[in-house]
Structures are given as structure tokens and as C-alpha cells.
Subunit: 218 residues, 2 copies
Amino acid sequence: MSELSPTERTKVKRVPHKAATDTAALYDLLDQSLVAHVGIVEGGQPFVLPLVAARVGDQLLLHGSSVSRLMKTIASGAPICVTLTILDGLVLARSAFESSMNYRSAMILGSARALEGSEKLEAFLHLTEKLFPERSKELRLTTEQETKATLMVSMPLNEASVKISSKFPADPVEEYSLPMWAGVLPIKHTYGEPIPDPNLIPGIPIPDYISRWPEGRT
Amino acid sequence: MSELSPTERTKVKRVPHKAATDTAALYDLLDQSLVAHVGIVEGGQPFVLPLVAARVGDQLLLHGSSVSRLMKTIASGAPICVTLTILDGLVLARSAFESSMNYRSAMILGSARALEGSEKLEAFLHLTEKLFPERSKELRLTTEQETKATLMVSMPLNEASVKISSKFPADPVEEYSLPMWAGVLPIKHTYGEPIPDPNLIPGIPIPDYISRWPEGRT
């Protein structure tokens, strides 16, 4: 499996043992993430937008409304930072200082490119299939007007860092004897029962494919 | 309940019906969020950091390592953007275009102020109590060295916008008759079974208070 090449900007400096440098860790995280937080700059002010994200090969797809000012900035090729975080648990240590969280997080730097024509149409299909696996084939097709109403951008994944914290409390050994419980409280991201649209026509069952959608996405 | 005052920068322009302008909606979201995505600018490049966040009154507390370059930028009072998002479900519409997500998201603009002295110590207590309710009283106290190792900042919550999407598919009426299931697949954030630290001394039960921690935090 190939390695990510950390640049000066993406090198994880503070806690290097948390850094995962292989592309597999990055792709795994992206494939479990539904939402990315995208940072952009306008007039010196940072803005952070939550956007739906989907990986296709070595690219990340992001999309949003064509009339959104911030989305236009992203599509213009301005420098952006895309951060994705999945929280896996609370680490209950014996001191406040060592108490922490288990998480997986990726930070991707670069710039995006607006997709047009057949590339854009393909990206829509990929995005739909990634978010709603097996559902695309029954959906009503996207119209030309809908395609125009959406900006779809693609961003390379070559400048990225991944941090994974998956641990028990890191208390000093002499504190093990403190008379309190310590450990990890996992946080789980699951699906509830599907809720039918009030306008659903009668007799249509919940599709099988939903039961095959990967758990833990968020 | 008081209203947030949207400024030109935080006014939700694109889908105004999604905007919640009351402070209660903002506080509810902050109180369920464990992680914030904080945007800063360095040399024209945006960076987005995942940080633990806790609301105390009308302020948001953020903290991180004293040696983190990006954390120092935050503590310097530079302009920042703090975005928090909780994903509540997948909206399965009858077209790819109308398929979407239910979520709650807040964007807060402003700058943070580094806390020192007694303010900093109090902030640590508030943060611990918020993240791990009822646990603070049994934790080993924070040392002076640990306090120095952490930057704690506070940010006002007066320039903020909240977007809440909680809906069924918004398909055009003429598409209700398409023969496919439509509805919402809820996404739930729950706790798993607590996992004891391998170094836990024998005979210490899982504390009662964990069962009282609010569900749905992420």
C-alpha cells in the first residue's frame, strides 16, 4: 500500500505516534465519512462549511449549490483545507489532564477543480452510489437543470495527514492504584429504523439494500 | 429566549428556512457536540482543526497543547470560524438531486482569548464537568505543570448562525407515484459498553454516573 507524502504543512508534529501515513488509513476514514468540514478564506476571515464528501479513487468529491458564495470560492481553485473526524470514544483516565477522546481524523490540503460535462455527470453517479449504495439504479435521473444548480468539485488526496487515537488511558503507572474506574466509553454511530415518507404510496417495502449499508458512517 | 443577531457574515443566505436564529437552538447543539472544527488562516492557507469544545454560559471553551503552532494562532486572537455539525439521518428521496441529509450545524465567527490564572483553572473544571458529568470530583487534580502544557481559550457566541435540516424528502408531488421507497434513515450516536482499562485495580465497578450521560453526543 502506498504511503502518503507528508509535506511541511501536513506533517503531524505534536504527537507523531498518532500519525498514520499510509493511504489505506486515509481511504478507510474517507469511506466512513459522510460529512467533511471545508475551510476557506475570504478577506482574511476563515469559514468552515460542512459538506457532503465522497472519495472516488484518489480524488475527493464535494458538492454544493451553484449560488452559494462560499461554494463558488471552493470551485474557483482557492486554497482549501478539508478535515474529516469520526469520534470513536471517550477515554476516561484518572486525571482530567489524561482524559481524552479516541478518534480518527484526516486533514487534506490543496485546491479543488470544478467538474463539467461528462465528468460532472459521472461524479454525480459516484457520489450517489457512495452515499446510498445500490439505490442509484432506481432513482429518477438527474435533469440538466438540476445539474446546473449544483457545483461539483474534485480535490486530489496527495497532501494529507491522518491522526488516529485508539487507546486506553495513558495515566502514569503510580496512578493505577487510585480507587476509581478508568477505561474507554465507546461512541457508536448506527442507523435507526427507516421512517417512511408520509407521501409514500402504499405497498412499497423498505429496500433490502439499506440493511447492507455500512455501519459506523457519520 | 433571546435571538442571535445574524451579521452579514453569518446570515444564512442560501436556504433561509433552515436557519434557526434563537440562542436556544445554538446552545442545544453546542451542548450535544463534543468536537468542533476550528478554521484559522496562516499565510493565506486555511487550516481546519478538530478540537474538543464545551459551552459555558455565553462562551465556548476550546483547548489544546501549548506547543501546537495552530493552537497558538487561535490563542493569539486571530479571526477564527468554529463549525459544529451533528448528522441526524439520510434523506432518501426519489431522485439523486433531492436526496440529502438531516443535520444540525452551527457556524460561529469571532476570535478567542487565552485564559490565565483562576479563569483558566475554572475553565478546566467546567470543561471536565461538561465532557464527563459528575466525574470531576473523583479525578486526580490537575497539576501546575499540566495547566502550563495546555492552552485554554474562550470565544464569545454572539456572532453565530444555526442551520437545522429535519425533514422528509422534498420531492415534487408528481414524483410521489414513482414506485420506490422513500423516507428517512436516522443516524444515531450512542454509547457502547464501557471497556475497563487493562490496568484497572480489581473490584472497582463501572460508575453509575456514566449511565446518566446524555445520549446523542458526538
